[in-house]
C-alpha cells in the first residue's frame, strides 16, 4: 500500500495514526460513553475514496492496533472494522453520490454495527455494558462525519492521493 509510486500514502498512515491517538485521548468523565469512533470514521473515508488501495487487510491491521491501544481482546476491533469495511466496499459507489445527510445515516448504521460487534465480543469476555449507552458513539460518529469528510477530502486533494 505504501510504496506505489510518488503518491502521498503517508497521508493515509498519518491520518490513521491521528485517529488512534484521538481514540485514546483522555476524555472528561461525563463524555466517556459518547466518544466518537475516530478510527472507523477515518477508515470508512479512505475506503470510499480509495477502495482499490484501502481494504480488508488495512482494516485488519488497524483493528489489531486499536485492540492493543485500547487494551481490548485481540481481534475485537479487528472483527468489527473488517465487517464495516466489507460493507463500505460493497456500498462505496452509492456512498460517493449520496448527500451528506444520507452518508451520515449510513455511517450511523456502520458505527452502530461496530459497537454491537464490540459489545458482543466483550460479553464473551464477561465485561459487557449493562445499558444501551454503548450505542451512543454511533450518534456522535454520524454527527462528526461531515467534519471528517471535508477535512480528509481537502487533505487528499491538496496532496493528490489517489
Amino acid at each position: 500500500m505504501v510504496d506505489q509510486g510518488p503518491n502521498a500514502y503517508w497521508l493515509v498512515l498519518a491520518s490513521f495514526f491521528c485517529a488512534l491517538i484521538l481514540a485514546v485521548l483522555p476524555f472528561p468523565h461525563w463524555l466517556a460513553w459518547g466518544r466518537p469512533e475516530w478510527v472507523l470514521l477515518v477508515l470508512v473515508y479512505w475506503v470510499i475514496a480509495l477502495p482499490q488501495r484501502v481494504g480488508l487487510i488495512t482494516a485488519l491491521l488497524l483493528g489489531l492496533m486499536l485492540d492493543v491501544v485500547e487494551g481490548a481482546v485481540i481481534g475485537q476491533n479487528a472483527f468489527a472494522l473488517v465487517v464495516v469495511t466489507l460493507l463500505a466496499l460493497l456500498l462505496y459507489q452509492r456512498l460517493r453520490v449520496f448527500s451528506l445527510a444520507q452518508q451520515a445515516a449510513i455511517v450511523f448504521v456502520l458505527a452502530g454495527l461496530n459497537q454491537m460487534i464490540c459489545q458482543w465480543v466483550q460479553n464473551l469476555e464477561g465485561a459487557g455494558s449493562t445499558t444501551l449507552m454503548f450505542l451512543l458513539p454511533a450518534f456522535s460518529s454520524a454527527l462528526l462525519w461531515p467534519f471528517v469528510l471535508h477535512l480528509l477530502r481537502g487533505l487528499r486533494r491538496l496532496y493528490g492521493v489517489s
Binding site: 488512534l20 491517538i21 481494504g55 482494516a59 492493543v68 481481534g75
Partner: protein, 268 residues
C-alpha cells in the same frame, strides 16, 4: 475479494479464540504494546501541558501558601512516623515472641498514569513504567488512599493495570474491625464494589473498612480497599446484598504506587 475475505475472517477468528479462550497472545501483545507507545506518548501531551502549566504558571502567593501547608503536613507526618518506627520495632518483637515471621515493609515505585481505557466498561490504566523498571504481571497498584488494582500486562516501556472496579476483577478482603473474610467484586462502576457470599447474619456494618486479606497470595495484607456503603438483609435470601465504595481515588489519581512485596511475610 472472496479469498482475501476468507483469509481475514480466518485470522480474526483464530486471534479471538486464542486470546479469549487460551490467553496465549501475551508476548505478541506486549510487543505490539511497545509499538503503540508513541500513541500514548502523543495522547498524553495535553495532560503534560496541564501539569507544566500548574507547575510554572502559579502566583507567588499560591506557592507560598502551598509551601506552608506542605511544611505543616510534613511536620505532622514526621511526628507520626517517629511513633511508627517504635511501633514497628515493638511489632517485630511481639511477632518474634509469637514465633511468626516479621512483617516487612513493602517497597514502592512511583508511576505516572499516561492513559486510561477509552471504553467506559473496561477499567484499565496505562502506566509509564514497564519491564525495564522491574514491573511484573500481578503486581499490586495503590494510591495514597487505598488499593487501585493490579498489573495485567507489561511491555518494556509501559504497563497496563486492571482496576478493582472492572467487571472481571475480584479481590479477597476482610473487615478491618473483626477480620470477617469476603470477596469484593467489581461491577463495572467506578464508585462501587459488590461483596459476595456474606451470609445475612454475619457481623458487618455500614461504614466498615475492608482491607486486603492477603489470601490468594496476590495482594499484600492490610491495604484499604473499600468502605461498606450499603447493606440489604433480605430474610428470603441466603446472602446479604452488600455494596462498598472504593477507598482509592480511582478516577482522579495521576501518580500511583507500584508495590514490590517482600517475599511471604504472613506467618500464621
Amino acid at each position: 475479494m472472496g479469498l482475501r475475505l476468507f483469509l481475514v475472517a480466518l485470522v480474526v477468528v483464530v486471534l479471538l479464540v486464542a486470546d479469549l479462550r487460551f490467553n496465549s497472545l501475551q508476548t505478541a501483545r506486549s510487543l505490539m504494546e511497545f509499538a503503540a507507545a508513541p500513541v500514548y506518548w502523543v495522547a498524553d501531551i495535553p495532560s503534560r501541558v496541564g501539569d507544566w502549566k500548574n507547575e510554572h504558571l502559579v502566583s507567588r502567593s499560591d506557592l507560598l501558601e502551598q509551601n506552608e501547608q506542605l511544611g505543616r503536613e510534613n511536620l505532622v507526618l514526621q511526628g507520626r512516623s517517629h511513633q511508627m518506627a517504635s511501633l514497628l520495632a515493638e511489632n517485630v518483637r511481639l511477632r518474634a515472641l509469637l514465633n511468626s515471621s516479621a512483617m516487612v515493609r513493602d517497597d514502592v515505585l512511583v508511576a505516572e498514569l499516561i492513559g486510561v481505557s477509552p471504553d467506559p466498561v473496561r477499567h484499565q490504566l496505562v502506566l509509564n513504567k514497564g519491564e525495564r523498571d522491574g514491573v511484573f504481571v500481578g503486581q499490586p497498584l495503590i494510591d495514597a488512599d487505598g488499593l487501585l488494582g493490579q498489573v495485567v500486562e507489561v511491555s518494556s516501556l509501559n504497563s497496563r493495570a486492571l482496576l478493582i472496579t472492572d467487571a472481571t476483577h475480584s479481590i479477597p478482603v476482610q473487615v478491618n474491625r473483626n477480620g470477617v473474610r469476603a470477596i469484593a467484586e467489581g461491577i463495572g462502576s467506578l464508585t462501587s464494589l459488590e461483596i459476595h457470599h456474606v451470609s445475612a447474619t454475619t457481623d458487618i456494618k455500614e461504614g466498615d473498612l475492608l482491607v486486603t486479606s492477603g489470601l490468594g497470595g496476590r495482594f499484600p495484607i492490610g491495604y484499604p480497599v473499600a468502605v461498606v456503603s450499603k447493606i440489604e438483609r433480605d430474610p428470603g435470601l441466603a446472602f446479604a446484598r452488600i455494596m462498598a465504595r472504593p477507598s482509592a481515588a480511582l478516577e482522579r489519581s495521576r501518580h500511583v504506587l507500584l508495590v514490590f512485596t517482600a517475599k511471604p511475610a504472613a506467618g500464621n
